[in-house]
Symmetry: C2
Subunit: 337 residues, 2 copies
């Protein structure tokens, strides 16, 4: 979490953007049976379809048994938008402000006091620590049940400033189709995200068809609390697993127990996961979602404080990983479209 969040402070003041005037549809002329209707018929789409066909065709030299068809996806910037600020951070700042307004003891920390006062200048001065503090409070100062309720309510109502859409409507339609296409081909699809498991699990099943136990994210340390006949798991404001960079392959090993044959990411935070997947002795595919569409979404890579894509892009270009170009490869961007 720490490294992941290091980049985002410069972005706390929301970027003001024009809403795009995209009028594209899901493509009336496409073949009805195409499971990837929201993708343009580009070479990248062909590579994906050819890979899935090869690993699922019995007798093919690239055939992979069902049990080994593990596919892992980053979330922020890969399955849904992450600009201008990771949506979970937007939620956390709101929630922490709300919690600390009521639980005034939390305001002993100057960064939290500043957040409650709406003094973002002071809050930002505390840098990464202030941000981590805010995320920790929003996720651990309440019970997991209260968190679920609060995060779900936020996702049900809050709107993204640029698109004026609910955040869960900003999942990428072509990626949701890809997940379904893989599952139809007996892949097991997982999220391996720098965001927290608990946040992603509040919407992953509805948004992506991915159940909670197939969501791996950053985790706070859990504790079992028992008082008479009441018992619950609570979380402490202490990192248990940092699911970013090298933490991703480690988590895949620990929680999935198999090396994936397909990994899809969009930033240097996914680099180790992509590299590790590409060392699978089974046929494998590493994919990067390159944000190239400044009109319909955002265009960013090497210099972005959010979703910085630099070293992974170099290696991807060099090694022939699939670099999905959102502008050219995506017929439609968002699920609401």
């Amino acid at each position: 979490m720490k490294t992941r969040l290091a980049f985002i402070l410069g972005c706390l003041i929301m970027v003001s953007c024009q809403r795009s005037n995209t009028t594209e549809t899901t493509g009336d002329s496409a073949v009805a049976s195409d499971p990837l209707l929201s993708w343009n018929d580009t070479p990248n789409k062909k590579v994906i379809v050819d890979f899935v066909t090869a690993v699922t065709t019995e007798g093919s030299p690239k055939f992979v048994p069902v049990a080994d068809r593990i596919a892992v996806f980053d979330n922020d910037g890969t399955l849904w938008c992450e600009q201008p600020l990771y949506f979970e951070v937007v939620y956390s700042l709101m929630a922490t402000r709300q919690i600390a307004t009521q639980v005034t003891a939390l305001q002993k920390k100057p960064e939290i006091k500043a957040l409650v006062d709406g003094d973002m200048k002071t809050f930002m001065k505390r840098g990464e620590n202030g941000l981590l503090e805010a995320v920790a409070i929003s996720h651990t100062a309440i019970t997991p049940e209260e968190f679920n309720k609060s995060a779900s309510a936020w996702l049900d109502t809050a709107l993204h400033k640029k698109y004026e859409k609910k955040y869960t409507e900003l999942t990428y339609k072509p990626m949701v189709e890809l997940l379904a296409y893989l599952r139809a081909n007996q892949f097991k699809t997982f999220i391996v995200s720098g965001g927290t498991s608990m946040f992603i699990r509040t919407f992953s099943e509805a948004a992506y068809g991915i159940p909670p136990d197939q969501v791996i994210g950053t985790m706070f340390r859990g504790e079992f609390q028992q008082k008479d006949s009441s018992m619950r798991v609570t979380l402490k404001p202490e990192l248990f697993h940092n699911d970013d960079k090298e933490g991703k392959p480690v988590a895949i090993y620990q929680f999935i127990g198999k090396k994936p044959i397909l990994a899809f990411g969009n930033s240097d935070g996914d680099h180790a996961m992509l590299q590790w997947t590409s060392t699978n002795s089974l046929p494998n595919l590493a994919l990067i979602l390159h944000h190239t569409d400044s009109v319909r979404e955002y265009a960013y890579d090497r210099d972005s404080p959010i979703g910085k894509l630099d070293k992974a892009l170099d290696e991807g270009l060099q090694k022939g990983w699939v670099i999905v170009d959102m502008k050219n490869d995506f017929k439609v961007i968002f699920s609401y479209q």
Copy 2:
């Protein structure tokens, strides 16, 4: 791991037992469509079937949606035999002896030196620490790939002294049937074990139909190592998660993300998991496998150093949890029968 292993030292010298002469079959007279053929038609079997029927019948007041049909099972003593010593510990002692014979630096620790020398008296004097040391060496001094190879080879060849059968043949047939029955009713089945994930994953898919990502166990800390183009996850001899007692509900929360509606254990190590499951607001079932069959298997509970069942039994009896009586409820015990 530490607490779990604290009990077993007294058992390091294998108990010598007569092989049972059981001649029971899978029950020719039973209805062919009975998915629980190896269970006797007892009230306990009826409770299980009635529960599964109620939660899967649409319109039933106890109906539970598919997504919430989470079932968790302990492994040692619940899905396979754990006497006279946890099978993973038997493996670990053998493997550590083998590794430390080659990597002599490991013999600097007196307990490991004693193990290599076959001096079990000295080894046992080191108590729990010696045992933990041995487990850690067997699981972390080699790569995960080498571990898989070694553990799989051992499971393919080593025989249990009492039954003269491979350990994977000592899975409980009625329990394997129960797992399949639950899955046929769209439950998702998980192992939540005090043993390590890495050991259980070497056989869980073949033995139980449970894939690696649905196996939660004790874990050592992982580390991503990269050297030029080679990269791998290795494990350090340091506990990352102790999946015993309160560690079980915590792991279920962290890795599954939902409270189960069915939990099955056999010892006080499963107590917290059973308690927590029974607080589910959805209809739920807590079950304990009570080892009551001294002839066909082993009879033990409150005073056993392995699989001690005391407080959980008290609470189970008081709360009306299902206490499965192996002697009366199991028509057949083992999968090889």
